[in-house]
């Protein structure tokens, strides 16, 4: 009862961290792992940033992408082209990153971890101009 009361007090006080607040800074909590620790890829990928993913969610993700200062910039889903067919659906993909400013969708030829042509669906949590934070 005391724990419930404490939790309620925290929520009422506005100090209970939201999911978006929990993943706002790298590294994200829970089962998320740096992609570079799971497969042989550079730690920082130009155009995307430093990626984290829960391995249980591969290949779709979400992948959480951070800039050089460890701030979340985007949530990325990687959807294999062969799975975009009448018999396959991607439902209920987690979206822990909070507000979305805009979305990018583009083809990727593949990379370790998702070793087949796929689509990147990028939910940008920053303005278009701030994509430059992960450009290089």
């Amino acid at each position: 009862m005391k724990m419930v009361s404490a939790a309620l007090a925290l929520m009422l006080a506005g100090t209970w961290p939201t999911l978006a607040q929990e993943v706002a800074k790298a590294p994200p909590p829970g089962a998320f792992k740096a992609v570079s620790s799971l497969v042989k890829l550079p730690d920082f990928l130009p155009g995307m940033g430093q990626l984290f993913v829960d391995p249980a969610t591969l290949p779709a993700g979400p992948f959480l992408a951070y800039d050089h200062d460890g701030k979340l910039v985007s949530t990325i889903y990687m959807l294999p082209i062969k799975d975009l067919n009448p018999n396959k659906r991607f439902d209920d993909l987690a979206s822990p990153g909070g507000n979305v400013d805009h979305v990018s969708v583009y083809y990727n030829a593949g990379h370790p971890g998702v070793e087949e042509p796929h689509v990147h669906v990028v939910l940008w949590h920053v303005a278009k101009a701030d994509e430059a934070r992960v450009a290089k």
Partner: protein, 157 residues
């Protein structure tokens, strides 16, 4: 695919092949895609793609159960993943045609071909159903042997 005339390298030259990719990873390739070398020369692959890892892997039953597409008595190779800036080299002594691919990008058509010396035509062998066949996009990505011999190198731009 473009062809740039260039005499094939001789002696102990190291022949460089680079791995490249567009910034968004939408397109990846070996450059040059086709080269003609002398027996005993060394080919060195270097990953020049800052945003991706690549392999250079020969088609051979001993490497991931793939069809034989190098001379029967040549030694197969697999570089494993090369991070940006890393290199891998192979010295080719047996004349013939060597086809290779990048493991994560074979289905994106990232393949290459080396012609060593002046190979004799080889009769196609029976298809072994236990081996994983090449996707069409890879089969269509090899520069023709005659063009490689005539031009020295074949490059995609």
């Amino acid at each position: 695919m473009l062809f740039f005339p260039q005499a094939r390298a001789t002696g102990n030259d190291i022949i460089d092949v680079e791995m490249h990719g567009k910034d968004d990873g939408a397109h990846v390739w070996f450059d040059p895609a086709g080269i003609h070398v002398e027996p005993g020369q060394t080919v060195r692959w270097t990953n020049r793609d800052p945003g991706n890892s690549h392999t250079v892997t020969s088609y051979h039953p001993d490497v991931f159960d793939r069809p034989l597409r190098i001379p029967a008595n040549a030694k197969p190779w697999n570089s494993d993943y090369l991070l940006p800036g890393q290199s891998f080299s192979v010295t080719l002594t047996v004349p013939g045609v060597y086809d290779y691919y990048c493991v994560p990008h074979e289905h994106a058509g990232m393949v290459g071909r080396i012609v060593v010396g002046t190979p004799q035509p080889v009769a196609p062998s029976a298809v072994d159903p236990s081996l994983t066949p090449l996707p069409d996009v890879a089969l269509n990505g090899f520069p023709p042997v005659d063009e490689i011999i005539a031009k020295g190198i074949v490059r995609r731009v």
